[in-house]
């Protein structure tokens, strides 16, 4: 086993990994940029190494500085988390070359699955159904137009090197194709240094359902059920849950998708944690979308329904251990839902809302888990993803999990910056969500629907006025002697502003 592990990441995921390391008696090494000296993951780690300026290209994405930190601190393994270098085959290779165990799959598996076109080929060779699309990355919109003519609109443009919704465009009409292709290609070039785009037929009203797979280095592989992530905005997941409401209605899908996922992963020689993403329609057809060769943001929902600690399992198999259970021993219990809490303003076109968190109250109680990377007084940096935390709940049924999530959201208070908590409250109260009638366009439709404002309780305004007067009174000096005091008049002006 590893005596000390460096976490090449920041925020909530770094903290989540630190927690498991502590339970396992393994020392943790955090890394941090100039912007993160006071970050929670640095506070909670056993050791911490500075790796450069705020820009991630010079810190969290800088392979040499991270390896150097691991050497200085005497770590023997590196956990990449998600995002940043987690799906970078060069980083996985560089870790192994420098003598560190990379806690994840082999560099070769990352490379194979990292190219979306290559991944489609590998998945197909393993027998997984795929969405019709171009086999190669394209560099011109004329090739894309030729495919779209044959397959029919709408089509989806995707970056070969893509992820996280960057370089993705939906195209409904031939005349929009050129502009969309150029936009997607330049976005992909900026985000990934690779402007190649491929084209897929768009499956309308598709659901996003993914399978968690886990393999050891001895050829054993299992799946840990599915997660449904159909609630998305700009191709970014917003709510994830397990089990999928669709799979709960068509239970035979779980085994079919699980087996297809395992075949695809095996075809890539995969080990450690991975996720095979599918598009599914309501008749139970599903198509391979891509494979994520890392721990996912939404892994906690799988942890809650399986009772497993996926990070512990990752470390166990990275150290050469056998999977401690077989497929038959995997049992799924109850229902789990995750909300990604972001520093953004849903009332103002989801503008990011960085800044200082003046107040923070986090929910707790039965079945509630908060994986947070922030604390009151922390200033959310501009340089990184604006996710503050993940709120995850578990209950015996999906219906109870929804009620529990609403209760927990009601306890959650983030003051000083805006958060998307109100968005989750409207989704979880929406009839279609509660019925499990989801597809990847669901959230856009909900956001277009007229906003029904909750009825203001007249008494509440009076209570607010009472609180306001109290707040002002407690902010004033107890004894006012000199009415012309500059301090007093400036204080009054501040109140009046």
């Amino acid at each position: 086993m590893f005596p000390k592990i460096l976490i090449a990441n920041r925020g909530e995921i770094a903290l989540r990994i630190i927690r498991t390391l502590r339970e396992m008696g393994i020392r943790s090494v955090a890394v941090y940029s100039d912007a993160d000296r006071g970050a929670l993951h640095v506070r909670k780690a056993d050791e911490a190494a500075h790796i450069g300026p705020a820009a991630s290209s010079e810190s969290y994405l800088n392979i040499e500085r991270i390896l150097d930190a691991a050497r200085r601190h005497g770590a023997t393994a590196i956990h990449p988390g998600y995002g940043f270098l987690s799906e970078n085959a060069k980083f996985a290779q560089a870790c192994e070359d420098a003598g560190f165990t990379f806690i994840g799959p082999s560099a070769e598996s990352i490379r194979l699955m990292g190219s979306k076109t290559e991944a489609r080929r590998v998945a197909q060779s393993g027998g997984a159904p795929i969405v019709p699309g171009t086999e190669q990355g394209l560099t011109s919109s004329t090739e894309a137009a030729a495919f779209a003519r044959d397959a029919g609109f709408p089509v989806m443009l995707k970056a070969v090197a893509g992820g996280g919704g960057k370089g993705m465009r939906r195209v409904d009409r031939a005349q929009d194709l050129v502009a969309a292709f150029e936009g997607a290609s330049s976005e992909a070039l900026r985000a990934f240094g690779d402007g190649r785009i491929y084209v897929e037929k768009l499956i309308e009203n598709a659901r996003h359902i993914e399978i968690q797979v886990f393999g050891d280095r001895h050829g054993n592989m299992v799946h840990l059920g599915e997660r449904e992530c159909s609630v998305q905005r700009r191709h970014q997941k917003v709510i994830e849950e397990s089990p999928s409401p669709l799979v709960s209605r068509k239970l035979e899908m779980r085994q079919r998708m699980g087996e297809a996922a395992i075949r695809a992963a095996r075809a890539a020689g995969y080990y450690n944690a991975g996720t095979v993403e599918f598009l599914a329609d309501n008749s139970g057809n599903f198509y391979f979308l891509e494979m994520n060769t890392r721990l996912q943001v939404e892994h906690p929902v799988t942890e809650l329904v399986t009772g497993l600690d996926l990070v512990r399992l990752q470390i166990h198999v990275a150290a050469g251990g056998h999977l401690p259970f077989t497929q038959d021993q995997v049992s799924l219990r109850g229902a789990a839902i995750e909300c990604r809490i972001y520093a953004e303003d849903p009332a103002n076109n989801f503008f990011p809302s960085p800044g200082r968190i003046a107040h923070l109250a986090e929910p707790s109680g039965p079945g509630v888990r908060v994986d947070s990377g922030v604390y009151p007084g922390w200033t959310v940096p501009l340089e990184y993803d604006p996710m503050l935390s993940k709120l995850i709940v578990w209950a015996d049924t999906r219906e109870h999990a929804i009620e529990r999530m609403l209760r927990a959201l009601g306890e959650y208070y983030v003051g000083g910056i805006k958060s998307n908590i109100p968005l989750f409250q409207s989704i979880l109260n929406d009839a279609a969500f509660r019925a499990g009638d989801l597809h990847t366009g669901y959230l856009d439709q909900l956001l277009k629907a007229p906003v029904t404002r909750s009825l203001a309780v007249p008494e509440l305004a009076g209570i607010a006025a009472l609180v306001a007067s109290q707040q002002v009174a407690s902010a004033e000096p107890a004894v006012i002697k000199e009415t012309q005091s500059r301090w007093l008049s400036s204080g009054r002006e501040r109140l009046l502003r």
Partner: protein, 144 residues
């Protein structure tokens, strides 16, 4: 008490027959008619349950003019809502634009945000170039 308390812009009398205790900094417990409420105050916002109220307190002893005249001019500036980088400029000086039309795309916190025209008019100035870094409040473009 000579103060005027405005909740969401309207003058509201504090609820009588209620007790209020500041239980944590900025957190108030209110018991009113047998009901228990918790209120949180950050800057000018009071949050009670799912409801959020803006509040302001006016003291008539200190008269000060506020608000008036903000929209007197025919110019509308489009400001950067936060620090970021200019990714694209969607219009040129002289272009006629309609309310809601995209003017400039700013990238901040890994997200691209389209800054839109607040109303109809024509673009009289564009103050930034692609790849410029801007601070919060920087004027990006002017529409008249």
């Amino acid at each position: 008490m000579s103060r005027i308390i405005k909740i969401d812009g309207e003058s509201v009398a504090p609820l009588a027959d209620a007790t209020v205790v500041e239980v944590e900094p900025g957190v108030y417990s209110v018991l009113a008619h047998g009901l228990s409420w918790e209120a949180r105050v950050t800057a000018d916002e009071i949050s009670i349950g799912d409801h959020r109220f803006r509040f302001e307190v006016e003291d008539p002893r200190q008269w000060k003019r506020t608000g008036a005249g903000a929209e007197a001019h025919g110019r509308a500036s489009i400001l950067a809502p936060m620090p970021g980088k200019i990714v694209r400029i969607l219009v040129q000086v002289g272009d006629a634009v309609v309310a809601g039309q995209g003017i400039v795309v700013v990238e901040a916190m890994k997200m691209q945000n389209e800054m839109k025209a607040p109303r109809d008019g024509s673009v009289t100035a564009i103050q930034v170039k692609v790849n410029d870094s801007v601070i919060a409040g920087a004027v990006l473009a002017v529409i008249e």
